[in-house]
Amino acid sequence: MTERTYIEAIRDALDYEMRRDDRVFLLGEDIGAYGGAFKLTAGMQDEFGTERVLDTPLSEAAIVGAAIGAAYMGMRPVAEMQFIDFITCCFQMITNFAAKSHWRWGAAVPIVIRGPAGGGVGGGPFHSQNVEAYFHHTPGLKIVMPATAADAKGLLIAAIRDPNPVLFLEHKFLYRHIKGEVPDGEHVVELGTAAVAREGTDLSVVTYGAMVHRACAVAQQLRDADGVSVEVIDLRTLKPVDYDTVYASVRKTNKVIVLHEDQLTGGIGGEIAARIGEDVFEWLDGPVVRMGAADTPVPYAHPLEHAFQPNEDRLREACRKLLAY
């Protein structure tokens, strides 16, 4: 075990898989000599060469298209979106070419598309978005978003080895804000498995990404102030969702808030809430509550972004209201 930041854990996963499997290569904008916008790949081109750490033109559709074609020919490409916001430029390649390929004609597309997502860093409307809802609707994709350094490594390794197109969403606020013990060498966290980030008995908060940390902080505050016990479920994989773990928590606490940093309307929380309502209705002692960001673009100014995101105050009040229901 080594203590690593979230970004170091991602880098560790890339290094490990690149050394283990020479089919694995990276492609993206400015990832080579420049080292990437977040310096995540700094120095990798020196070790692995200009082909396996491939600087591309500013062409997201070509980056993903090239990854798909290379994957058809036996490679294991890991494509970087410099900021995940730019993934909209290759929406068509992902949703139509990559996602449908195996179902449509039996050709697997083992690619990873990874990049920094999320806000809280003053990045504004085009460098802070959460894009999972755009893709959650599309059959054939897997979507992953780690909340911890250890999971960042283990999930990325699993994503690279998965035979399907995987969107790997890294929370840029967590890159250098959190650190944790990360297993050295081989470390795989199976896709499609949620984790109990904090155990509790009175209410469940089902969430992912940076919101896991916010939910755990609120859970501690409520323990200290009100003596209540809040469980926090970290989904880790957003598609397919590990509903078994979600439902087990709901059966235990009987009250649930589905929380995400993405905008509320049309966010994946709506799908999760609907399924809870259909499948474990008898276990509920209150409404399934959703909490997400305001239905606006991500604002640039700090006070606006603070108001936009689900913050600790709002979550704490929502928990208290549901606990009192």
Binding site: T56, I68, G69, Y72, N96, H102, G106, A107, G140
Partner: protein, 363 residues
Amino acid sequence: MKRYKAYDPPEYVSWELDPEELERFDATLAADPARKAVIDALDNDALLGLYTALVRARLHDVHLKRWVKNGVITKAWLATGEEAVTVGSTLALDRRGPDGDVVGPMIRNASACLEMGIPLEQMFGAYLAVDTTPCRGRDIHIGDLAHGVIAPVSHVGSLMPVMVGCALGFKMKREPRVAMTWVGDGASKNGEFHEGANFAAALGLPVVTFIQNNQVALGTPTSQHNKGAFPAFADAYGMPGAVVDGNNVLDVYAASKLAVDRARAGDGPTLLVAETFRMGGHATHDEREARELFAPDVFAAWGKRDPVGVFEAWLMERGVPSSTLSTLEGEVDAALEAAAATALSGRASAQPDPGDLLEGIYA
């Protein structure tokens, strides 16, 4: 070759050789010494192979039109008049299968699938939506990696970056293989095409691309949606380019062979522009509208340039007996007839199982 009153465009039904077209054909072959050397090296079998593939492309489409007319299928996307573009280019490839070259055909390049080795029965089966093709009735677009064919999506232009990716894989693995694809004049306006073309040039990848200018994008003539010169695209990306006569299978073949050889040698991509003409509709459902897009004399002029008829005349002028050609035509037609009959008779028993609907979402 035999003409089909019910299925061929009227210019083909009444087709007779215009000697000027044969002169044009020969003049094209003589115009470029490098291409001429490629053509001069072709032996009789190779020439007859090109003829056979051209006839196969034409008759494959005739069979589909017959199915449309008889109500077996509702529509088909055909290559009538454009067959030489696909045939001449595909036959310049290494078609050995999973370790050979790869193609990314549009649906109008169906003969690329045929010539890469996808069985005729599967090609017909894809239209019939049966479970016994690689697409299993889930899609009409067929592909099979075992034959080096990447299945397209309907978003034309998207194949370009994917074929560039295949070429990237070849380069990284040091495999002397080539990727080939085609875009229409319409798809050449698509961002993915441009991204892919620049990516190929910037990285020097072994991909050969055709802009197949059939003078019309569905229902809009090229002159309305394009003001630039297609041959200038290659220079703009920084890769070699050339124009070919898309109705002259030998010219297409020679230019393709030169480009494929360059790519295989590690000398990067080529962008070829094939000028041709769509003698039918976007698909079988809009042939009337398609006829109204151009003046009758445009159809008449391109009709004289039937890529099968003129090549047939050229072969006969070189001494190939017409009986040899009609024997080949008969063999091709019989094989297509048998495959179509087998596919059709097996349709009822090969229906996809609704119970399998969710199978294969993930690999």
